[in-house]
């Protein structure tokens, strides 16, 4: 883990007087260069991103009909293929950037006075909107990782959280200061209840949490389909399979819609940051986190020290489920407050696994990778159809593939092995 790997660099040898005299001092550039060519976890992450974008570029080129056609006469006029490929890749990644961070056309318009400041923020707002549920599901998977558990069930937990928040969101008539928190908590409780099941099963019967939680995903998804059809949940105004909308008093307020109504980012993002900080605090400062980490690293030593392994599994999975449930609440009370469908959950729960892997199960890393994945999703959505919308999923998958196989990155780029060896992901649940 990051808090234990980079430990004893400098003090190992006292700064020895120059033995040769001619030996230059280890200046910054040399140290930095050495760092760049080493397969440490930071550089592996950076190189994984770069390699993924490189592979994405190749796939963009071969999947674009026009560019592909220039390769058909590559040997008679190679520059066509080169320019076409270059232009395609640059344009594609530019439009991803424009959809995720800043649209240059809007910037021009804004400078010329033809666009409001709010328009300028829309790509960012979309990125943050899509990142929000990923923060929660990433934390749900990451927290479980730290206890040595592989929580594949974040998808089902998110769906349960969505339903819990929805039911409280439309069925109670309360003032907003009470209704909204209650609905959010209901999401956490519902997700936590589903998350507790694999934890309890593992603690009492030894059932593997991967198996039980993946099965619960199916149960949750089908339960949602059934529940949406019941009169209790089903919309009163639409005959499609869509739920009732949540009351205004349970809807997460948007943060920036006063600037521009299309800025959808809402309070759930702030809650996500706060929860990430809380999880960080829990893991690194609390006795509960101490126990989770000890059990995750070495359950035998933890048991010998008097920690109860079974109850740690149960509480951790419950907490993880609650985190994913909060993600569900963020959807049901946020962008989907008009009513949830069977499709609202998308694959946020499964993406949580890749977010947690990329973030190396650290809350800070999880937030960062959720933002990255949110940006990819927002960018791809806006850049279509010129850029295939699947590029975001493809890039995510490729990034995590490289992260999960640091030896591959090391071999491709001929990096040096760092002190202490390659850092592989600690999915000890398997």
């Amino acid at each position: 883990m990051s808090d234990s790997t980079a430990t004893t660099e400098a003090p190992a040898e006292p700064p020895a007087p120059d033995t040769e005299g001619s030996e230059p001092k280890p200046n910054f550039m040399r140290l930095f260069g050495g760092y760049l060519t080493e397969a440490n976890s930071v550089m592996v992450t950076i190189y994984s991103l770069l390699l993924a974008f490189l592979i994405g570029a190749i796939l963009l080129i071969v999947s674009d009909e026009f560019t592909r056609s220039t390769f058909s006469y590559f040997f008679s006029r190679p520059q066509d293929a080169w320019y076409a490929s270059r232009d395609l890749v640059v344009e594609s990644y530019t439009s991803l950037f424009e959809g995720a961070i800043l649209n240059f056309n809007t910037l021009e318009a804004y400078r010329a006075g033809d666009a409001e400041f709010g328009n300028l923020l829309r790509p960012l707002s979309e990125t943050l909107t899509y990142a929000t549920p990923l923060i929660f599901t990433g934390l749900a998977v990451g927290l479980a990782f730290r206890a040595g558990l592989f929580n594949i069930g974040a998808q089902g937990q998110l769906i349960f959280g969505m339903m819990g928040a929805l039911i409280v969101g439309f069925s109670l008539d309360l003032p907003i200061w009470l209704h909204l928190p209650l609905a959010i908590i209901a999401g956490a409780v519902a997700g936590g209840a589903l998350g507790a099941v694999p934890g309890v099963l593992k603690a009492t019967t030894g059932a593997h949490e991967v198996i039980s939680s993946i099965m619960l995903n199916n149960i949750a998804a089908l339960f949602l389909v059934w529940a949406l059809g019941t009169a209790f949940l089903h919309s009163e105004t639409k005959s499609d399979l869509v739920s009732k909308p949540v009351d205004d008093s349970a809807t997460l307020p948007t943060l920036l819609s006063s600037l521009n109504p299309s800025l959808r980012v809402n309070l759930a993002l702030i809650i996500g940051f706060a929860v990430a900080a809380l999880v960080w605090w829990l893991l690194s400062k609390s006795t509960f986190g101490f126990r989770i980490r000890a059990v995750g690293f070495n359950e035998h030593a933890a048991a010998t020290a008097g920690m109860r392994i079974g109850s740690t599994y149960t509480t951790t999975m419950t907490a993880a489920g609650a985190l994913a449930g909060l993600g569900g609440a963020a959807l049901a009370l946020g962008v989907s407050s008009g009513g949830i469908t069977t499709n609202t959950a998308l694959d946020y729960g499964f993406s949580g696994i890749t977010v947690a892997l990329l973030g190396r199960a650290n809350p800070g890393g999880i937030v960062a990778s959720a933002l990255l994945f949110g940006a990819l999703k927002a960018g791809a959505l806006s850049a279509q159809p010129d850029v295939p919308v699947d590029i975001s999923t493809l890039l995510q998958a490729t990034i995590v593939l490289f992260i999960a196989a640091p030896a591959l990155v090391k071999a491709i780029l001929h990096l040096r092995t760092p002190r202490g060896g390659l850092v592989t992901l600690e999915a000890k649940g398997w």
Partner: protein, 367 residues
Amino acid sequence: MAVKPFKLALAGISAVGLAALAACGDAPSDSNGGDNADASFTACMVTDSGGIDDKSFNESAWAGMEAAKAENDDIEVTYKESSNTDDYDPNLQSSVDDGCNFIVGVGGLMAANVTTAAQANTGVGFAIVDGTPSDAEGAPVETENVFSIQFDTAQSAFLAGYVAASQTQTGTVATWGGMQIPPVTIFMDGFAAGIEQHNTDKGTDVKLLGWDAAAQTGTFLNSFEDAAAGKSTSDTFISQGADILFPVAGPAGIGALTAAEEAGDAVNAIWVDTDGFESTDYGSKLITSAEKGLSNAVRDAVLAAYDGEAGNGTYVGTLENEGVSIAPFHDFDAAVSDETKAELEALTAAIIDGSLVVESPASPAAS
């Protein structure tokens, strides 16, 4: 969702292989491509979930967009895919930002989103497929710039039901849906009404499995893709005596056709949306199809918008305007008696002149 990057990658890999084979070709002379690159009018489409190539709804609508472009080279078309309802707003917004002149929202679930976008962007034309302008609560909204495209598929399904009742040997036919949503249940309602008509007119007692029109309950896969589930559902109905199947489930409906084929000559099927004799590999098992002219309707809407005539108009596909129809009987032409064919023509005329009304709770609001 998860399959698609793989598809993209696969396409890429095979393309590399082909390109390598062909890389020795001659360079073309410099010329502009055939695209309507300088078109002055851009029509954009925002899909429902399922993607542009869903072999169903979105794909048919997109075919209509391309048909419009083919007809008028001053029209450029493009699309944005939505992965779920949360993508509607950003996709509509970025279509507006991209400078689209006419934006077609595919799917009734998008009605409120399209309406809101239309109210905020009065300079842009919009259309909703299978829906009418409404607010988030579903209440109708008056707009100046939302064109509504709907289909009274109950009418074509009614005829299909009548044919089914006339053709069944066992006296039992079956239907099942992909999901319990209006564009699906309207077919089932019409089908049920057609059977009922036959029972009344001809004194038969044909039973329908899989849909209770009065209670609005029935059998649904909750999937438009799972053909295996469609087959097992169909097998169940066949074992209960059904000899004609009416799957209203897009690609999942193929399961009914494979089940019918396995069951032998005695079991046949009726397709929906398109003429299944053309669009599936099971033409010999299809008595007819309850067609819905989505492509043509979208094409006409785009062309009308180009001419500035779309506005807040409404199009409802009916038997009268041939927006819905039943397909030819093809292989079953001889099996369907001339008597039945004559009755179908009479029923069609009755529906067109309004003396016969096929009702469904999912029917488009009267225009």
